[in-house]
Amino acid sequence: MVFSRKYWQDKDIQSVIGKMLRWGVLSSAAVTSLGGLLYIFTANKELPPYHTFHDVPAQYKSLRGIFAGLLHLDSLSVIQFGVLILLATPIARVLFSIFAFLLEKDYLYVVISTIVAGIIFFSMIGGLA
């Protein structure tokens, strides 16, 4: 079993998935911390009223808004970009699984992974908010 082709392919896939998750979390943590430090050192305003829900400003709710804020090094946009990297990490793992199962010629799991990716995609653009 250990010397079969499939065993090593499985091992390689596990290793790639492990690395993807690790780098996703580490880069997100780095970006979020950077934004957080900027936020702490530049913030001189009063604390926002978190005790009642006010809806986050539109610029932090969309990809376009967050990227626009990044260009001005707006601290909250940098944090939100770190959050985006974090959200993208497990999604990237699902997309990689489709590819990996395709390499293994395990078509049943290509379909299963594609369904999971489809559900997340629907959640993103389905206007559920």
Binding site: K11, I13, Q14, S15, I17, G18, K19, L21, R22, G24, V25, S28, A29, T32, S33, G35, G36, Y39, I40, A43, K45, E46, L47, P48, Y50, H51, T52, F53, D55, V56, Y60, K61, S62, L76, S77, I79, Q80, G82, V83, L86, L87, T89, P90, I91, R93, S97, L108, Y109, I112, S113, I115, V116, I119, I120, F122, S123, M124, G126, L128, A129
Partner: protein, 278 residues
């Protein structure tokens, strides 16, 4: 309070939550939400959005290590993620209609359930003969490495487990938690997945499940960057510290104390929900 003081206090609280969550194996989210709402009076919607982001960080970080050890059953995880992501989307949609005080009561009840399940006896089922044909068709039966060689295992009652995972997903999307308790019900009790495999596979699924509802919450304005920074970084740092500490003794006592604390917090969440304070 200034932004700096507030951020540092939340950072410290989130660090403790991550540390305790990792040492006891209960996860950080179960105390992050009571900490933010009961402790700091933050609106439940912000707390749920922030917690979802924190558990993605936590689960992805530890899944990275588990996956490489080869204990996580990736096929089982992928298959059940269909159920948990569908549930997560349903949960996020429901959250748009259910008032916060009812969400608080449900949260409290789920919290009590998690605390009770901590007291259960861990029992591994390794009957290879009892497997179902569906489990074979889906190639779910597998094995994992131990010091004494590979342990083979088989599972059964796949549809029942799948249904329970939809519930786990709904709770995760609605409450912003990892729903470990429901996943254990589905995998350990219904499907008879060995404990080590179910824990790591459940952890593997949390990130994808939370991401499915977090993308809705981001657009809905529940994910507040000013809160995400101290909570995500705090929980992550706490969990990483926790995984490096090997408690020689006292783990059992710590779990009991932690379960008791969670129960008290749960009752307070339920009380505040019923009286409309949340």
């Amino acid at each position: 309070m200034t932004i700096v003081t507030f951020t540092l206090i939340i950072l410290a609280g989130a660090f403790l939550a991550g540390l305790l969550g990792s040492l006891t194996g209960l996860g950080g989210a179960v105390i992050i939400i009571p900490l933010l709402t009961l402790g700091f009076g933050i609106d439940l919607k912000y707390a749920i959005g922030t917690s979802l982001v924190a558990i993605i960080a936590n689960s992805s970080g530890s899944a990275a290590a588990y996956v490489r050890e080869g204990i996580t059953n990736i096929r089982l995880g992928m298959f059940l993620e269909i159920a948990t992501t569908v549930g997560a989307v349903i949960g996020a949609v429901i959250a748009g209609f259910v008032p916060s005080h009812i969400v608080a009561v449900i949260f409290g009840l789920v919290l009590i359930m998690s605390a009770v399940m901590q007291l259960r006896k861990k029992q591994d089922h390794l009957e290879l003969a009892e497997t179902s044909s569906l489990a074979k068709k889906l190639k779910l039966n597998s094995h994992y490495p131990t010091r004494d060689g590979e342990i083979h295992y088989a599972m059964r009652r796949v549809p029942g487990g799948f249904l329970m995972m939809i519930v786990a997903g709904i709770m995760s999307g609605l409450l912003g938690i990892g729903s470990g308790a429901f996943k254990v019900l589905g995998m350990d009790y219904i499907m008879h997945v060995p404990f080590k495999v179910s824990t790591t596979t459940s952890n593997f699924m949390i990130g994808v499940t939370a991401a499915a509802s977090a993308v809705v919450y981001l657009q809905r304005g529940y994910i507040e960057p000013g809160l995400c920074f101290p909570v995500v970084i705090g929980v992550l740092a706490g969990a990483m510290t926790g995984s490096r500490i090997l408690l020689k003794s006292g783990t059992e006592l710590l779990r009991k104390i932690f379960s008791a604390v969670i129960t008290v917090l749960a009752l307070e969440m339920i009380y505040n929900g019923i009286t409309g304070k949340i």
